[in-house]
């Protein structure tokens, strides 16, 4: 994960469900252009926030041993906007998990109101390479940033960090 786009985890229930929060700030430069005079969080970045929330949920379910890559946006429906000064809550539920992939369903809320549904499919990269060589190290879950983020969890079950990364 090259950059962290969620602020903290409110809940983390291993292999089941995670809730993260992302607060939107006018200091984010892209908001100056999206849109000029009417800043709103781009839908693509709401999907990114969900992909990180759900991706870490999937990664932790495999003890961070798999390279978990967003493979497909199965469904993304937006009902309302998210604007600077607001915080959004991203709830991800792990629906299916197999050696090759995982799927999640997600709900985005702003002050308790649902503003989006985002369902994702993740690939376990090493299981879907068709024989193509790839780096061994887990570049998805670098230990430092993920470890920092995991220390923000407010409410959780027992979770574990991987030795690699």
């Amino acid at each position: 994960m090259r950059w962290i786009w969620i602020d903290r985890f409110l809940e983390f229930h291993s292999g089941k469900r995670a809730v993260a929060v992302k607060c939107i700030s006018m200091a984010e430069e892209h908001l100056h252009d999206h849109m000029p005079g009417f800043p709103v969080m781009p839908a693509s970045l709401i999907i990114e926030a969900m992909a990180q929330t759900a991706g870490i949920l999937v990664g932790e379910a495999g003890k961070f041993q798999q390279k978990v890559i967003l493979a497909k946006i199965r469904r993304a429906i937006f009902y309302d906007l998210a604007r600077p000064g607001e915080c959004i809550e991203l709830e991800a539920i792990l629906e299916s998990y197999s050696p090759e992939a995982a799927s999640t369903s997600g709900t985005v809320r702003r002050a308790g109101q649902v503003i989006a549904n985002i369902d994702l499919l993740f690939s376990h990269l090493d299981q879907n390479l068709s024989g193509i060589p790839f780096p061994r190290e887990n570049f998805v879950f670098e230990k430092g940033p993920i470890q920092t983020l995991m220390t923000t969890i407010v409410c959780s079950d027992q979770i574990g960090l991987a030795e690699n990364g």
Partner: protein
């Protein structure tokens, strides 16, 4: 619970409409998942998960589609074709697929054409109703 072929077909149709974003009328029994409905490799994982949910069963990818390692094994596939061994392995593994016609010229480029809506229905029929015939 036993399912009739019509019930299975209807659910498969719903799964493919959701997974591939195609219109319901395009999902005909002989429609090929890749060439006609635009499925890519990652969609097969999505389809497997959606079928599991729709029918409340567990399916491994290798049961229904060839697994990831298959095509990189030179004993099974070489020079753009299935080897005799590869064909034998797939025929055994994927009993819902009709290989007649294909086996005369087992080019990998043509393999995707065998995975039709009908083949998926056949797979589920076999898996779901293994314990007995469906009751209408």
């Amino acid at each position: 619970m036993p399912y009739t072929t019509a019930q299975i077909y209807q659910k498969v149709k719903e799964v493919l409409v959701d997974a591939l974003g195609v219109d319901e009328e395009d999902v005909k029994p002989n429609a090929r998942l890749m060439a006609d409905l635009g499925a890519e490799s990652i969609d097969f994982l999505d389809i497997v998960f959606r079928l599991e949910k729709a029918f409340s069963i567990k399916i491994s990818r290798e049961e229904i589609f060839p697994g990831d390692g298959f095509f990189s094994d030179s004993r099974l596939a070489a020079d753009g074709r299935l080897t005799d061994e590869g064909l034998a392995v797939l025929k055994k593994q994927l009993s819902h697929i009709d290989f007649s016609g294909f086996e005369k010229d087992p080019r990998l480029a043509k393999l995707g054409d065998l995975f039709t809506v009908e083949a998926v229905v056949r797979f589920l029929e076999h898996k779901l109703n293994a314990s007995g015939p469906a009751q209408d």
